[in-house]
């Protein structure tokens, strides 16, 4: 419901190939080459990380790689700016909790 299928000025948005990736272990779909943050937004994910001291949620803020609010753990590497990192098939994305991955219980999967 977040995707724009047809735009009055830009027409149909150009999309890459539909691929699968994993968000905290849960399978999701997005278009290859689009920023990870866009694929997550389309899937309704708002929280990308929690701050280290106060455990406050953070999500997309500037969307151009400047503010670092949207950093997550991507394929095991923390602090990846998801708004400017292209989605690749099979990527493992994890919510970042401080500087490590958020612990996700199996029941939520």
């Amino acid at each position: 419901m977040n995707r724009i299928n047809e735009h009055p000025i830009l027409g149909e948005p150009e999309k890459g190939q539909l691929v699968s990736f994993y968000m905290d272990g849960k399978p999701m779909e997005g278009y290859a080459g689009e920023p990870i943050a866009v694929a997550l937004k389309a899937a309704g994910v708002m929280t990308h990380r929690y701050t280290q001291k106060n455990h406050e949620p953070r999500g997309i803020f500037c969307a151009i790689g400047r503010c670092t609010d949207c950093v997550m753990i991507v394929d095991g590497v923390p602090n990846i700016r998801t708004c400017i990192t292209p989605l690749v098939s099979g990527m493992q994305i994890q919510t970042q909790d401080g500087v490590t991955a958020l612990e996700v219980s199996d029941e939520t999967l």
Partner: protein
């Protein structure tokens, strides 16, 4: 170490323009940009630009971006992407991070065109997911085809806030309100009017006091502010929204210039810390130039001219261009830049309140406070002594009441009905002696979507109004809906009697509605019976 005649930092409108001019003079030019794609913010600008022909007016920003990229390619400019300039050293040496590697490059001249970053404001809950910059909204919807949210509140009524609000509606989002702590709308009245007539309320002298939500934004509270910008208790209003968009100004990203040792100045009118520069962008360090927003916040059209000027100046500095040729070409560009720097929104007039237009007409206070012209304004602006107006037969009604640098309507009318003259900030005048054919080119040419074709004699008791429409789904001939007033209030049932699209209109569809003749001068928008605008 790789050597170039010129290194440009930033592949936005200013940087690319500078690189193109320099390369055309024979210089070997490298452009570094930290982003994966060149063009800066141009590819997010889907509205038609203002200005005149020489400024590429009535062309949408992303099209101008495509032209710039083609020109850079043809002129042999080397563009390095994902390349962050991390340091700038003595003798024009720069340190660039490309991927994981740090590489040194050397040039004889440098042009810094790093642009600007968005300002922020803080309020309770401002860090919640769902609070985003206006630039983020543009990036998501115009580059990546995704809605930033379903229901959005916009903070900031400058041109960015106004333009992005309209773009949000075009993307299919609902804009619930536009809020600004200032007592007046900061951007062009024509941009505000486009939003107001689709029913979005403006709250001037208001600010956000709280964003609600625990995991993400679920609502927002605004309150009126007093003269010291302090919220007044008891004036709070709440909106259910999932997104809060901040458009509260830009600051030059001038850190590299400071690092290089340029003389800097803190100039609030230019947006903050900016280098001291000559008119060609020459900083206090010979051979080091600054162009575009980094040397003072303006807009893309002036950034492109400024970029070209600094590119030519760099070429002359190294002897790739004779002083005589440089002076001649810079003089032309200065005239083009000067014409953009006129009128009520000129850089030198920032924040200034104008009581009258250049023509001596009292400005619309309603437009400044509510975003639309009220009935008393119509009398002043449409029955002016400097124009002849008509009340029968098809004729243009131009709701352009502020002195802004823009004149495509004059060029669009082949019949000479629309006159602006040489000063492009003058208000357009109607010359009713020349008869209008109803071709509609003026409507599509108006970047402010402020021109309407009205025919009071369409049918007994009915008038037709042709208006610009840039939403989906497009209305169909015979479709019924509601005619909305300038303030977005429903007036009556309206029937679509014509829908025109043409390549020359560039995605602006001309929709003609039939309304009771009494509404000929009040109905200004069409809301389909079953859909809200843009949904």
């Amino acid at each position: 170490m790789k050597r170039y005649d010129l290194i440009v930092v930033g592949a936005g409108p200013a940087g690319l323009s500078a690189a193109i001019e320099a390369a055309r003079c024979g210089m070997k030019v490298a452009v570094f940009d930290e982003n994966a794609k060149p063009g800066g913010q141009l590819f997010k600008q889907i509205h038609k630009f203002f200005g005149s022909k020489e400024h590429q007016a009535k062309i949408r920003g992303y099209k101008i971006g495509e032209t710039l990229l083609a020109e850079a390619d043809e002129s042999g400019v080397e563009v390095f992407l994902n390349a962050t300039v991390a340091g700038i050293y003595l003798d024009k040496e720069v340190l660039v991070q490309i991927g994981e590697a740090m590489t040194h490059f050397k040039a004889d001249t440098i042009i810094i065109a790093t642009g600007a970053a968005e300002n922020m404001v803080t309020f309770d809950g401002w860090t919640l997911p769902g609070v985003i910059g206006a630039g983020a909204a543009q990036t998501m919807m115009n580059l990546y085809g995704i809605k930033p949210g379903q229901r959005v509140l916009m903070l900031g009524s400058g041109n960015v806030g106004l333009v992005v609000s309209f773009q949000l509606m075009q993307a299919g989002c609902e804009v619930v309100a536009l809020v600004d702590a200032a007592p007046r709308i900061g951007g062009y009245g024509v941009h505000a009017a486009k939003i107001a007539r689709s029913g979005v309320p403006f709250y001037l002298s208001h600010t956000i006091t709280k964003a609600d939500g625990t995991d993400c934004v679920t609502g927002v509270t605004i309150a009126e502010v007093d003269e010291a910008f302090t919220p007044i208790p008891g004036t709070e209003k709440h909106f259910d929204v999932d997104t809060i968009c901040l458009a509260v100004g830009l600051s030059p990203m001038s850190q590299l210039l400071k690092m290089a040792g340029c003389n800097m100045v803190d100039d609030p009118r230019r947006g903050g810390q900016v280098p001291l520069v000559s008119e060609n962008g020459q900083t206090s360090i010979p051979g080091l130039f600054a162009a575009g927003d980094v040397s003072g916040i303006e807009e893309a059209s002036s950034a492109m001219i400024g970029g070209r000027m600094s590119g030519l100046a760099a070429a002359a500095y190294l002897g790739f261009l004779s002083e005589q040729d440089k002076d001649k070409r810079l003089a032309d560009l200065e005239i083009a830049l000067d014409s953009l720097h006129q009128g009520m929104f000129a850089p030198g007039s920032k924040g200034q309140a104008f009581a009258k237009t250049d023509e001596g007409i009292a400005v619309s206070q309603s437009l400044l406070k509510k975003g639309y012209l009220d009935d008393t304004d119509l009398e002043r602006f449409f029955h002016r002594s400097d124009q002849t107006d008509k009340k029968s037969g098809i004729h243009p009604v131009i709701e352009c009441t502020q002195n802004i640098p823009c004149n495509p309507c004059q060029d669009a009318c082949t019949r000479g009905c629309i006159k602006i003259g040489k000063t492009i900030t003058a208000l357009p005048r109607i010359d009713a002696a020349n008869s209008c054919t109803g071709c509609g080119l003026c409507i599509a040419s108006c970047s402010g979507q402020a021109i309407f074709l009205v025919d009071e004699d369409y049918a007994p008791g009915y008038a037709s109004i042709t208006l610009p429409y840039e939403f989906l789904p497009l209305p169909q001939k015979g479709q019924l809906g509601t005619a909305l007033s300038r303030s977005g209030q429903p007036l009556s049932t309206a029937e679509i009697i014509d829908v025109r699209s043409a390549k020359a209109f560039d995605h602006t569809t001309l929709v003609t509605i039939k309304v009771p003749v009494a509404q000929a001068m009040t109905a200004r928008f069409f809301k389909p019976a079953t859909h809200a605008a843009g949904q």
